[in-house]
Symmetry: D2
Subunit: 400 residues, 4 copies
């Protein structure tokens, strides 16, 4: 089969996301000398502007050639030591993987296993921290947006718990699939380390793992004894000060990042977040019209970047994905691990708009029908359309 890959490549996975033309153009660049005397004039504003994205004034930002996984690891190895007690929770594939990584690095993980479809277990966190009178727990890990289940947890609540208890544990957040799509307020929420990647809200190819770290955390790094080198904050800071890097950076991606940041700021971050809510809401109304349910158990947890849709009992979501891919050039997200075969996902983040979302719904309807799932053709599309029309009317009224 011949795939149409440009103009419209039917990509609705929760990352890598569609790359805007401005970014594609910027990526198309000749090699250059990363030791050139004026290289810093290009790179230093990248650090500054990423801070705007994370909504932080004071954090250090690190740009690693890698992926979000590298960012997870950097957070662990630069800020913790073997045997450090940390509090983590898992409620999806990615939160589970971070727990696994922490364990591999020898951290003593207090692991709250949560049903998939729920989010960060605030009550458990509060209880455990409350009992930790001696502040043995050095770090608290939370997944802001669990990409596997389409669940967004409220980071502010975690900060409130820490503040209520006056607990000094570092608050480390996986925001890989939320940053630049769902509001993230590092300073306001008192986040000590936040991890993202280039291929999600930043609308770039995969290849950069980006981490922002509070000065409080930075100050603690000398006590952290886990070995690190490629992902060392120290090495980065020494060189980043002048816009350089301890080893060859992925310069073409840095050019893409420049274009991505410009594109985000041109729309305005708050507008970006609003758009993501609007599109996500439309998808959710579509799913409801189909008579299907989301994997996320509670509307308060619904993710604005990805929706995981549960196929009816007796059907295999993997078949839906294959039909979508092979018959309709439509890439939907698969169900991972515990929810394999049970859910398919629609990624609606990054370079995304109303008619793209309608396309995803229309294509998903076809693929589900092909697999025998009884939904009414056009019903999800119509429900999503309704929300857009309503929104337009509201906007017009507001403007009047």
């Amino acid at each position: 089969m011949i795939r149409n890959t440009s103009g419209n490549n039917g990509l609705f996975i929760p990352g890598p996301t569609n790359i805007p033309d401005q970014v594609r153009q910027a990526l198309n660049v000749a090699s250059q000398d990363m030791r050139a005397p004026d290289f810093g004039e290009f790179t230093l504003p990248l650090f500054r502007d990423l801070k705007r994205v994370f909504k932080t004034e004071s954090a250090e930002v690190f740009i690693f050639p890698g992926s979000g996984t590298a960012g997870w690891e950097a957070t662990l190895t630069n800020l913790f030591s073997v045997g450090d007690k940390v509090l983590m929770s898992s409620f999806g594939q990615f939160s589970t993987l971070w727990v696994d990584m922490a364990q591999r690095f020898g951290l003593d993980v207090e692991h709250c296993k949560v049903e998939w479809g729920l989010g960060v277990p605030f009550e458990d966190y509060r209880r455990i921290l409350e009992q930790d009178k001696e502040h043995k727990i050095k770090g608290l890990f939370v997944c802001h947006n669990e990409t596997a289940t389409g669940v967004t947890s409220d980071i502010k609540q975690v900060r409130t718990i820490l503040d209520d208890l006056n607990h000094p544990a570092l608050l480390c957040v996986d925001a890989v699939s939320s940053v630049a799509a769902i509001d993230f307020r590092m300073d306001e929420w008192g986040v000590d380390a936040v991890v993202t990647g280039s291929q999600k809200g930043l609308m770039m190819p995969t290849g950069l793992g980006i981490v922002a770290v509070s000065q409080k955390a930075i100050a603690l790094r000398a006590q952290a004894t886990l070995p690190r080198s490629f992902l060392s904050f120290d090495d980065m800071m020494k060189h980043n000060a002048t816009g350089h890097f301890p080893y060859t950076p992925a310069t073409s991606l840095l050019h893409g990042l420049r274009a991505s940041l410009d594109f985000l700021f041109e729309e305005g971050l708050e507008n970006v977040f609003d758009r993501h809510w609007r599109l996500a809401h439309a998808v959710r109304c579509g799913v409801e019209a189909w008579g299907l349910e989301l994997c996320a158990k509670d509307p308060a947890l619904y993710s604005d970047t990805v929706s995981a849709i549960v196929v009816p009992e007796g059907f295999d979501s993997g078949e839906v994905l294959k039909a979508a891919y092979y018959r309709y050039n439509l890439s939907l997200g698969s169900g991972l691990s515990k929810v394999a075969g049970k859910v398919f996902r629609i990624g609606h983040l990054g370079n995304m708009n109303e008619i793209m979302v309608l396309q995803a719904l229309a294509g998903a309807e076809l693929a589900m029908k092909d697999c025998g799932i009884q939904i009414e053709l056009g019903s999800g599309v119509a429900a999503a359309q309704e929300t857009f029309l309503l929104n337009n009317r509201v906007s017009l009224k507001q403007a009047a």
Copy 2:
């Protein structure tokens, strides 16, 4: 407003069409010497492969830096003389423009004015040619696919008329918006000159006007006394023989053409045509479900590359276009000239697939609703989806 231009740029005009990634990659090329000794190794296969697209064994193919309009002009100035009598018909913006061009060049045009929405007036052509016992009529001009109204005329019928009457007039065809999307059989249909451009079925940027000319027409060019230089067949033939050009060719577009041809042949021309019918049929079913009518008056005339949809009395199609463009990043084709304000067009040619067509329909529904047109949301999408499902079932049955 911020436009998303890659991944999904909502472009559903009947050209320029969406460019496949393979073609975009090929276009991204450094300059090179068009007089290099091995330049012909690159260019000669382009002429050969374009003949496959036109379905001709013997014609000469010309590639001009220009547009389809340049191709029209090349056909007129290389094959005719001032005062030559020619038979033409107009039933849309583009067929009208060719008539106008012929008149500017001093041809004596027998002009059959046909209602917009109809096609080539076969009976008139037959009658006029029948009366032309002395063969004063030197050329017959037909528009294969009138892009303004979404009407495809049957070229074979024109050939049959000529053959029936043993009339030697040259048969010249505007196939700008049909070649490489709707079957075109130059040799079988006895076409003497056919014109296309790069930005339609060939899925490239605008910039090449391409003409294929029968040996019969080529032989007559010496008698044609209209002046020509930039668009001279003679000059081209002298240089093309070795893969060169009389002046600097648009080499980057030639690289795009190479990729486009490869892409078409990989899918297979017949499959390309089938796909265009499938997608066009789905759009037509969608329009019917909306309760609207096509500009084309007869199913036999329906174009597989573009559908012109009549908005209900009292509505302005221009408003639909603006709503589509400004609210939904959706580019639909406008109504031109006589049908301005009355129709909007959905281009469904080139790098196009099922979910793209559904997107166009879903977006058009939104834009129409925004303008107060009473259609049922999702209805057009559902009708189109039905045809795709049916088609899949038929395909599966055929495969069994």
Copy 3:
């Protein structure tokens, strides 16, 4: 053989020239609707900025999908009529081709044939115009920069002749290989029509023929009876007023043009001209060091965009070109027509700098040696280097 085509593609022909990365990036763009309501916001500034390049306040600028040859033809067919007497001169391949084109279109060409290597024959022009008391001569044609021989003629002198004689003939200039590289002052020199292309000083792919026309000439176009349609000024003006075009424009090239103009203005036009002189001067010193001669007979005629170098008696410049191309990935310009086999050309225009020129000289030395031409290796390079060092010292002195 494997060609290295990026980073350094050894292209030293006088066009198409090397494309700057900024322009390559801009060219890499998805299709868009040329009838979109905001299309003019993109295109109108292009016309405005091209006027800066031509140094005109009042001229009309036309952008045709085509090449410089299309620009030549547009000038002839829009401004003249069959039988119009015009004064032209030929002293190289391109000036000869324009004469040939004028004759094809039925102009009554007073043709001054000049030895190749010389330029516009001012004395002949003055004499002929002086004799033309009745002002039968409607147009004067001059080639600003004859690309085949590397000869630049002084347009101002032609204007002076016309002014001295108070002769109203239109002054039409081929500036294809000079505009945006050698100073061109349309208004100051009273030029009525000037032609260029995208692939020379504008550093773009071939595909745009650009013409600027004085209001005096524009006013006369209604009297000009040569047929034109694709290249009609009238049609263009009607649509250009709102930033649109009478037929589909080559939008991707227009995006390249935007980037090219920005790039030129960033450097500053006067700096661009200075750079071209510096680089050309270095090449000329290199040629002198080789003991070879330029085709241009007089230093006053030396072109700053291309140098045509005469190979010694008994050698074939074609062999030098082949050695350069096949052995060294170096594209030099060939000798055309009368000087075929006798000269090779180094194009030093557009996206060009000191070390590129040194590369061209070093590569040419190798190729000449391979063909048995007795030059001293490194001698041309050293002579050119000397001029750069001197220039640096002068600059430093000026700065001090």
Copy 4:
């Protein structure tokens, strides 16, 4: 100052190297789903073809999103444990950094400090290994090509020592700046782990760290207790078997890698190596003609990918670099660490040819002169040219 960055960007650093157009085109790709059912059809051949580049039949190949530094770390953390004794040597910036990294990870490094400009201390290695009767030394680390000093060490000699002594230590090689440019024979030389990056001989942007590991080493990984996760061989192997990855891969770079491998194989690896020698030899002859010396102390150590050139006493190589960069758009490699200010480097690897090397020499001559270094202009160019002519004559003779 305005930089010309395409067509010729004057980049002569030892990486990132110039990217061929074929690779640039391939990199210009839309996002795609790395979990698509046919993703493995694209990725599996990459692993297979990288084995051809490393000249191994049986090794496992790993492709990390990262840089060569990530490859170094992967080798250490997957194959060794804290306290493991390893034998390393340093004679330049990069060999030193690997030693430093090993120490950070708690390896017990027997560190042979060698004068910069020399290579792997074979005699020391032999002596130390000979004394290691109990085979406490678990790994032997060597830098194949020290990029800072332009020194290539003979890996085969190290294997011979190990074989002579029947010593089982793993042989780990940093071949970042040699693979795909200088012959590397993993299987023949019995190399257990070899590290490279995408931005050197593979002619790509930075962003991939590539490691090949022998089955002997792979078998030992379970015993290695250093923590690893992002760079885990185990995780990679589990997913790579079907062409997938444990986390999102840098897909656009993988497309570039495909094009790069195709490009290398089209030329032929042995031809690639020959070309690198030819170009390096020319540079060395140029340096000799200048009366300057290489940092590498012995012709047997000369690197075919980079030459480090010692500036005369009293001059600062940093000034040469700045003059090159700011005045001539020429990027030369800087002197690092111990040789900062003392050497500048010409990278001559990857997408490189004769006239590029001549450009580098010509530009370096200018920059040195600007700094007052007394070399004869054109002398280095001429010496290099001589070698190319001689080579051509020899080639012609061989062909006869």
